[in-house]
């Protein structure tokens, strides 16, 4: 008789779960969502091209703009397209010291990327630690840390960066440090927001009551679950670090002309813009704009893809 369901036909009869989802599959899904927007694809291609161009600059551009011995005063202020004493055309012209602008821009881009990415990464690390600590421990620690963060967020980042640079002096490490101080608060806020939500979930309580040590719960359980929004903030913050650095250099407190970033180049050319020598400022400016806009576009699309409300 089969009318009654027998208790024996029980625990083993669990149907197989779908095949394990691998990292590769998740990446593939991510990519198929990402490429829905051609603007985002174009932005990604631009960034990849700029990064490659910047880091392989010594092999790509005709001149080493840091090597003062290679500069010739006679080549100064050549308009775009003119051939100089080096025997090659200066596609984007030369500056007041006879530097090839194209070379200077790609070397400057390299400096900008190094500063932007390392400042972004360090600010991310500091911000995560502060945000996670605040959300995990709560109480007075949370109140103290988050008030400091709020206080910082209420001030413009540029102001903080200016104060830091004024105290520390010029140079790449100093700039990076100033940018980290100015920017970690964004990461701390975002981490804190996401982590406070996750912190209340049962899996954290389960891990705590196992018991597992605090650092393990924080970094193995809490952190992986707050990463997605941070990835988005990180991309945008790299762009903002690059433009912050450019602003500092433009104001003359960033990098010296001996190791120029895009900001330094713009600042240098600004003096001659009324003399009709537009190329000194405009071309570095265009590259800066393209870089920042492209990074932001990529960040936007990453946010769209990661947003659970947009997934079907």
């Amino acid at each position: 008789m089969t009318d009654t369901l027998t208790p024996e036909s029980n625990v083993t009869a669990v149907p197989a779960a779908p095949p394990a989802e691998t990292r590769v599959m998740r990446l593939r899904n991510f990519w198929s969502d990402y490429r829905q927007s051609w603007v985002a694809i174009a932005a990604l291609i631009v960034i990849v091209a700029l990064v490659l161009g910047a880091f392989f600059a010594p092999f790509l551009v005709p001149q080493d703009p840091y090597d003062l011995a290679k500069l010739d005063w006679l080549d100064a202020f050549l308009p775009p397209g003119t051939e100089g004493s080096g025997g090659y055309a200066h596609v984007l012209g030369t500056d007041n010291a006879g530097r090839d602008m194209l070379s200077a821009i790609f070397y400057g881009l390299r400096t900008s990327f190094v500063i932007g990415i390392s400042a972004g990464a360090l600010a991310l690390a500091v911000g995560i630690t502060v945000g996670l600590t605040a959300a995990y421990f709560g109480g007075r620690i949370e109140a103290l840390l988050m008030r400091i963060v709020d206080l910082q967020l209420s001030m413009p980042a540029i102001l903080l960066a200016l104060v830091m640079v004024a105290m520390l002096g010029q140079g790449i490490p100093q700039i990076i440090f100033a940018l980290v101080v100015a920017q970690y608060a964004y990461f701390a806020r975002t981490t804190h927001g996401a982590a406070s939500v996750e912190r209340r979930k049962d899996y954290i309580e389960a891990a705590r009551s196992t018991p597992l040590p605090t650092w393990r719960v924080m970094f193995k359980h809490l952190l992986p679950n707050v990463l997605p929004p941070l990835i988005v903030v990180a991309t945008v913050q790299v762009a903002s670090a690059i433009s912050l650095e450019a602003t500092l250099s433009f104001l003359g407190v960033g990098l010296p002309l001996t190791e120029p970033s895009l900001g330094t180049l713009i600042s240098n050319g600004f003096k001659y813009i009324h003399a009709g020598r537009y190329w000194l400022s405009i071309y570095p400016g265009i590259f800066l704009m393209i870089t920042v806009v492209a990074i932001n576009l990529v960040g936007d699309q990453v946010r769209n893809v990661l947003d659970p409300r947009n997934s079907r």
Partner: protein, 340 residues
């Protein structure tokens, strides 16, 4: 009778919420802004013998989940003490993890929230035992597969993420995680409440099988009277932070002695043909921030008398192995009702 594994002695738990700075400033003017105290548990005592499954039943705000968390060591009691094998339960004292708390493991209500969504199931299971060296490092993988099979899953599932499992399967994983620590006491907090009816039966059967095979001792916290009756030896009924009745399951269901217990039984819908009239308990569940005076149930109790409004009833013996906290069982509710 054997010595109890778990002793809960006169445990109270209060949660205090301090008002924020702004609230305190406003409070200076309006007279509010004082700390809010929630009496989650008041003077609860309960012993659990080895191999026994004790059900904790009550409605929201009765403190059953808080009791589970005090026993697990997640909350420290405000008063009283909880001992396991005679040693007090505490967690992370002075930065050191007390080995004792690995012996109590908890299974949560919602298997969609209780598993780390970004950790493979095998890693979730192995983490605790590996960290506390409960299983020799070389045997961890084999043991985890064995455990998965014991809870009715395949060993190969160890490499999957939680979102690839159904609710029932996840709850099996949560049970395996608790068992991996080889605990002396399990705390199940509404462990089958969020599962579908057909899946609930599977998980209850699994629990009963495991109990038989491993001799589990457990606190089974639930609002579902029929589930508790099915798996528990003894049942404790709680109301607004207090234990109001404690009795062996068969006796409690045959003859409830506290008016709240009887009222609870009457308001539970049961499967049967034909319309039923619900004998609902009147009124709302009072807030644990401001519990009624005397017996907390008196505003809703059909049998309440003047004494109930003034005096908190003590738990008194009401037959072998039974206790109940009601004045009816302890000299009456008072001679006459004062004019209302």
């Amino acid at each position: 009778m054997t010595d109890p594994i778990l002793r809960i002695e006169n445990v109270s738990k209060r949660f205090t919420r301090m008002p924020g700075l702004a609230e305190r400033l406003v409070g200076k003017v309006t007279g509010g802004g004082k700390p809010v105290v929630v009496h989650a548990l008041s003077d609860v005592s309960l012993n659990v013998a080895p191999g026994e499954v004790v059900g904790i039943v009550g409605e929201s705000g009765c403190g059953k989940s808080t009791l589970g968390r005090v026993v697990t060591g997640i909350y420290a009691p405000s008063d009283g003490r909880v001992t396991l094998h005679g040693k007090p339960i505490a967690r992370e004292r002075g930065g050191n993890i007390d080995k004792l708390t690995t012996q109590v493991q908890m299974i949560h209500q919602d298997p969609f929230a209780s598993l780390n969504p970004r950790m493979k199931v095998g890693e979730t299971l192995a983490e605790g035992p590996r960290h506390h060296c409960i299983i020799p490092a070389g045997e961890v993988r084999a043991r985890m597969r064995e455990l998965l099979e014991k809870v009715g899953l395949e060993g190969a599932y160890a490499d999957r993420l939680p979102h690839q499992f159904s609710g029932g399967q996840r709850q099996r994983v949560a049970i395996a995680r608790a068992l991996a620590m080889e605990p002396d006491l399990l705390v199940l907090d509404e462990a089958v409440a969020s599962l579908d009816v057909s899946i609930q039966a599977q998980v209850l059967n699994l629990f009963m099988d495991l109990r038989r095979d491993l001799g589990l001792t457990a606190l089974f916290i639930s609002h579902d009277l029929s589930v508790v009756r099915h798996v528990c030896d003894r049942v404790a009924i709680m109301y607004l932070g207090r234990l109001v009745e404690l009795a062996p399951a068969d006796q409690l269901y045959a003859e409830p002695k506290h008016p709240y217990t009887s009222a609870l039984f009457a308001s539970v819908p049961t499967v049967g043909t034909g319309r039923r009239v619900f004998e609902a308990i009147k009124g709302e569940i009072p807030s644990p921030i401001n519990p009624p005076s005397g017996c907390a149930f008196h505003p809703r109790c059909p049998l309440a008398g003047p004494r109930c409004r003034v005096e908190v009833p003590r738990l008194t013996d009401a037959g072998p192995a039974r206790t109940v906290a009601c004045h009816l069982n302890d000299g009456g509710v008072g001679l006459q009702d004062a004019a209302a």
